[in-house]
Symmetry: C2
Subunit: 410 residues, 2 copies
């Protein structure tokens, strides 16, 4: 799949402003030319004001991994981020990692399984968990932004410690699953001795749209998902809800990532009537139009009532409770993926669900606000449970020649 010009500009953090200007003035001169070249090759630039993989139109496949830091050395953490950025740049350009790939006497720098595959719009996005700023040896407590802290206990939590938390995250997205696997596997390899993989998640299909040009995908309940998501072309919304523009310099242009591993009880859902399914979500199953409406992308008719005097969008349905209007205008950028990891032996059914990812300026004021409401009232709660949870600060993008997180060490 080639990156359309529109998608590319979106992924470079540009909205309607166009090439040469942009919100940040980042994409100018030769960078614009490079972007055009990249478009033809299905590559997403690694460098920029923002890390790629946030505003980038959601690719089809995901491999996400969380690592625990095994060092108290600030120099080692810095070196890790520098090496990871270098490798990520090479992989996102569709190249093999490193120079030592032909030396028969040494292990190759690159494990090789993506050789011959196109970059497939690979993006690699790095984040730092709260624990990094708690370690005395690293001496980073003074650089901790107040927004970065563990999520509070939330309604609907049935969290498994082994699928939650982590000091550093890697979100690899691309249109080829072998390319994302290759990225995570090689970064884990580079990090050996400095980090240990804590948990990892393969996502086989995107459940969110993050660009106006994309078709809305279906989640494992068979429903269109992400219709009302923020679109990256909406610069105003991206600036208001996603990009950080204050606090420590290393976070300006960054964002906060919340991940939730959400198990979906497919058996119970599948036994529900079509009406129940649609009223739980608040949209029609097949065309995605809001109940009481005509087509997918129209605004939710939240105030409309039916012949029975009841709201056509039920009071406790998902789209109403998650809507900006019912949450003081709050929005998040969702970028989730469907998963399955075999059979839940206790139930004899597929262990499957949604690996939810959201980006925002402040988790406490955004995701937490939404989940406090959804976790209590949402009709959907009957069919889901949150089994994994994590939060990461996603630093601003790396400048040309620099690395992600560099400003943290300045």
């Amino acid at each position: 799949m080639l990156l359309s010009r529109r998608r590319l500009l979106a992924s470079a953090g540009l909205g309607a402003a166009g090439v040469g200007l942009g919100a940040s003035g980042y994409l100018i001169g030769h960078e614009a030319a490079t972007a055009e070249a990249a478009e033809a090759a299905g590559t997403v630039p690694f460098h920029g004001e923002h890390q790629a993989g946030i505003a980038t139109p959601a690719q089809d496949r995901l491999h996400f991994a969380a690592f625990d830091l095994e060092t108290e050395s600030r120099a080692e953490l810095r070196e890790l981020l520098e090496e990871w950025s270098q490798a990520a740049r090479e992989m996102t350009e569709g190249r093999m990692i490193g120079a030592e790939n032909d030396n028969l006497l040494a292990p190759p720098d690159d494990t090789g399984e993506a050789k011959g595959l196109p970059a497939s719009n690979l993006t690699v996005t790095f984040g730092l968990g709260p624990g990094v700023f708690d370690r005395p040896g690293l001496g980073l407590a003074g650089r901790r932004p107040p927004e970065l802290k563990p999520l509070p206990p939330l309604p609907g939590d049935e969290l498994n410690e082994l699928e939650s938390g982590g000091d550093i995250c890697v979100q690899a997205c691309a249109d080829d699953p072998q390319v994302v696997f290759h990225a995570v596997r090689n970064l884990a390899r580079i990090g050996r001795g400095t980090v240990t993989m804590r948990w990892s998640q393969l996502g086989f299909g995107r459940t969110s749209t993050t660009s106006r040009g994309q078709e809305t995908p279906r989640n494992l309940f068979g429903m269109k998902d992400g219709t009302a998501n923020i679109k990256s072309e909406d610069t105003e919304a991206m600036n208001e809800f996603v990009w950080v523009d204050d606090g420590p310099a290393w976070m300006r242009g960054g964002s906060y990532l919340v991940s939730r591993r959400i198990r979906m009880n497919l058996e119970v859902w599948d036994r529900s009537s079509l009406a129940d399914q649609e009223e739980t979500i608040g949209r029609r199953k097949y065309d995605g139009a809001p109940l009481g409406g005509q087509e997918e992308f129209e605004p939710l008719p939240l105030d409309k009532t039916g012949p029975d005097g009841e709201p056509v969008i039920p009071t406790n349905c998902h789209v109403r409770l998650a809507s900006a209007r019912e949450n003081g205008g709050v929005q998040i950028l969702r970028r989730g993926y469907s998963f399955t990891d075999g059979v839940d032996q206790s139930l004899g059914e597929l262990e499957a669900g949604l690996f939810f990812i959201a980006f925002q300026r402040d988790p406490e004021k955004q995701f937490v606000v939404l989940q406090r409401k959804l976790g209590v009232h949402d009709l959907l709660d009957e069919y889901i449970k949150h089994v994994g949870s994590a939060v990461f600060a996603v630093p601003r993008g790396a400048e040309e020649g620099g690395f992600v997180g560099e400003a943290l060490f300045a």
Copy 2:
């Protein structure tokens, strides 16, 4: 991805003989016209002498599931296979399952997550495990082919009972992971009460080539895999090694499927030198040419020695030990996929490997012969272990209007 004419003919069980003749005379008259229509739509015909998904050029993604039978009723087993065949036919044609999808008061017949997606060359292949023929209530002992029995203990086995065995298998392959997930999930739903899912495996990337038109993929060791595999265009080899042509009528035109979940120790592999890796396999890493050779598809130079007088293809390397020449001419049709299912918590590394699938006329004379040699001598054994294992009889294909396994009940 559209199905090329060549691939389509191959998947319909035709070799060089061409349309209108074929080994079986199956694809004639209107069926040939249907095949051309199917080609344009990216669909693989469900009906035919052979089940699809064996000779079909290996699609990119897999969802495989093994089920335990919960009934002793022959009528219920028959009904299950009939309903499954009907659903498989609808899905492989890119349609939703069933008629009751718009009734608001009932659960939809189809769960919906593949709605809007093309058929993506979906194939659904059914198999019956040895246990089916052991159940007195089913009364099928007299129809059991002698080739169908549990695999003997094999060198290299470190089998986990919960990832092994099963009474019925479903192999769903397509070029879209959401399409294969949808197939397995809906078949599990249809089978509720009659079968329980025992284990399931998502494969994210094919590791085998089964058609001359396909590029050889790389496995997770970064090596090209499947170069010397049987190609479905090779009618002679397919007839000699894959298709059953004797024994009970329900198996004539069928085959035997052996699955092995093979964990790959990526960390140890990645620490090996390029020379070690290449000598373990017997091929060069990047171009896949045999050691001592020039290009990927040339015959293995098994008798060639180097300046040191040693064979250029090492004595205990994988390609030599697995070669037909070293095994009395024995071959199998491989159709495996790479997988990862998160982190092996005991090691802090990716739980990943190869989900090996092979088709053959007689497991004892083919897979077992090969594995008895490979499991003892193969240099590759240092890097892999077999953790799951199963064997299934794959009945002949369903005739137009019939279902898979029908002849078993005649």
